[in-house]
Symmetry: C2
Subunit: 387 residues, 2 copies
DNA sequence: AATTAGTAAGTAAACTTTACTAACCTACAA
DNA sequence: TTGTAGGTTAGTAAAGTTTACTTACTAATT
């Protein structure tokens, strides 16, 4: 528990004021005082501090009230006070961006991962960040730090990627490497946690307290927020939906589609669908191609995909039974097949779960990882404000 | 977020001191100051307040340090300052108790539920509480309030039991009834939440941050604590393990063992086992009797129970995959068959879950519900201390 | 003599209350 | 139409309150 002293009070109240201003986007000192039930002089003093530190800006007068009186001085949150770098390390591409404090992506770059993975990955990152800094005409003093998302098991305390098959990393000291490259505060986490944080901060999960992000791609994974906080689990392995068992008998005989894969991802991930359809039709097909065949009514594709989606839907329905979230957000490679998946999930959930839950598609495009990484950074950063 | 002012600081620091004393059970002012890094005078002032309010007692001098110096004055938490009433309303028995602030059950009573359910349930409660008050020679001023656990769906905000089949209650205004009977602050919740709170406060889940309590009885239910807080879910229905689907194909054909029951409790609860064995052997048998037959090696019993426990174990393994708790506590009517269940769960979890998790038996006997109800009350009660 | 426990007196930092000035609107009379 | 009185709101200044901290002390012990 936090120990109480004067400085702590002040920080708390400053945070409240910032939060207040961010919610209202233009508000007067008097209105803040009323809203927070703090006295007007207190608000004045704290606002002056915040103005001096450039967290806030005075943006001219508002209009006076009907009953007369002096015009209020409007205060606005200064989103351009500082910037944050978000890095989304994917198996295919590395996405990089610089956002302002409102989560607006001011600059964005992308480069293919595998091309640089072996020799100059971090130099390439540095080059891109420098180029974005030039574009925005800012220097390092304006940058609070860097958040990064990793497609694999990450020990966030030690700052080490335990294992990331897509990058062929094992016990890779990611934080140390990034610190060496950038000399800025760094926070990292795995990609599903990044995504759920992003959706909660700026996406479709805004203002929700309990949400789940399910990523369906090569594997199946998920990130959880509870009471507005990321829940990582005792061993940092909460949300491993890919390990759910949705069929007792079938599970007895299953073989992991890749080494270390759980049951559900072995029967319903993209790679699983691809592998099954390939075996069935005797020719190499991707999951995307399988869905195309499905839409054409191909019998083999329908059988494989229906089975896979049923397992997936039961997994999600089980999630709802245990967690009772406000919303479930589906991401990963589902964009093309969302409506199909959605229908299946709603059917199964309706049949088996004790109550319903909204199921929606991710609200971001390729900038998702950047926004999420920035959300992670702000979430972990011991700064004045909180998101 | 909390607004900061002087009074809030003081409350915070008083709470810290109380927590400190409760952990150490005898500690001096100077030691508290060192531990909390607050100044000695601050501690002295706050301790004097706490002494005046009887939260603490001075219990004589400790021994001086090796290097010389004045003897410390020991401070102890005054667990007998106040008492709390815990009521555990079960389908068979109502358990009632009065505990001190340390969770020690100072008095306990029990009476059969159904006998009093229709006419004088609350009078009987009142009679028992009065008798316990006499026994302990305390009056209402010493009692902070009442916590109660309900075997059914409970809307804790409105204080209404939405549905409790074991009591034949539907939309029953439990809080209003208890307030009318006792004129004391009341908090209620459902029985699994009560149990997990109890285990966390005084049982085997002490000092664990993330824990799950699974109750296996007529149905199957569970309660969850995350980061030391009870997690109820968006619609107060988190932890509905009884609705998990553990077999896709089997689920297509299943029929709820009772109306409104989920898949898992329909195939693995006590009533399900009893119903299956009864059907198989053509004579009425309870779940307990089925387990006896199992131990004798009866073929039918082995088949039914093995199947049921496999489903249950997969459910629990799924829980571990999603939640990654520190510990899973099994309760309900499992006492006799715990080792059997435990083995099955560990096997399945070992096979399917991404990591292991301790699985243990509940640490309480028939006083479980009382301790849990008291834990609930203290958890919800806006008093000085927190547990 | 050195060390530890606890208290007293004065100071610093945060908030609040009260009282003020500045700026504005409405109503109404000339 | 214009001017003014009266009322209202925004923001600030000064004094007071509460809490914690620092410094300096006494008491008790090895």
């Amino acid at each position: 528990m936090q120990k109480g002293n004067a400085a702590y009070i002040k920080t708390m109240n400053k945070r409240l004021i910032l939060k207040c201003v961010m919610e209202e986007d233009a508000i007067s000192r008097a209105a803040i005082a009323k809203k927070l039930s703090l006295s007007k002089p207190t608000i004045s003093t704290l606002v002056n501090d915040l103005l001096e530190d450039q967290w806030l800006i005075e943006t001219g007068n508002g209009s006076a009230s009907r009953e007369g009186g002096r015009k209020p001085v409007n205060l606005t949150f200064n989103a351009k006070r500082s910037y944050i770098v978000g890095i989304d390390i994917g198996g295919t591409n590395v996405g990089m961006g610089i956002t302002d404090l409102n989560g607006h992506v001011c600059a964005f770059r992308e480069f293919p991962t595998q091309q640089h993975l072996e020799h100059n990955l971090f130099e390439e990152m540095k080059r891109n960040v420098d180029s974005m800094k030039d574009q925005l005409r800012i220097d390092d003093t304006k940058i609070l730090g860097i958040g990064a998302g990793i497609p694999g098991v990450t020990n966030i305390k030690e700052g080490i990627v335990v294992e990331a098959p897509a990058l062929k990393w094992k016990r890779f000291p990611i934080v140390a490497e990034l610190e060496k490259t950038f000399q800025l505060p760094i926070h990292v986490d795995n990609d599903v946690n990044i995504n759920v944080l992003g959706e909660h901060w700026m996406g479709i999960g805004k203002n929700k307290e309990n949400l789940v992000y399910v990523a369906i791609g090569t594997g199946v994974g998920s990130g959880i927020m509870i009471n507005g906080n990321l829940y990582r689990g005792t061993n940092y392995s909460a949300g491993e939906i890919g390990y759910l068992v949705t069929d007792k008998e079938y599970a007895k005989a299953y073989h992991p589609v890749h080494k270390g894969y759980g049951f559900l991802e072995s029967v319903s991930s993209g790679s699983s669908i691809s592998m099954q359809i390939t075996k069935k039709l005797g020719k190499e097909l991707s999951a995307k191609q399988a869905f195309e065949l499905y839409n054409e009514g191909d019998e083999a594709a329908v059988e494989v995909i229906d089975q896979a989606l049923e397992h997936l839907a039961i997994g999600i329905s089980n999630y709802v039974s245990l967690f009772d979230p406000e919303i479930i957000i589906l991401g990963g490679g589902v964009s093309g097949s969302f409506s199909l998946i959605h229908k299946k999930v709603m059917d199964i959930m309706n049949r088996y779960a004790p109550q319903q839950c909204e199921v929606v598609r991710t609200s971001f495009g390729k900038e998702a990882g950047v926004i999420g990484s920035v959300a992670l950074f702000l979430n972990e950063f011991e700064g004045l404000f909180e998101i």
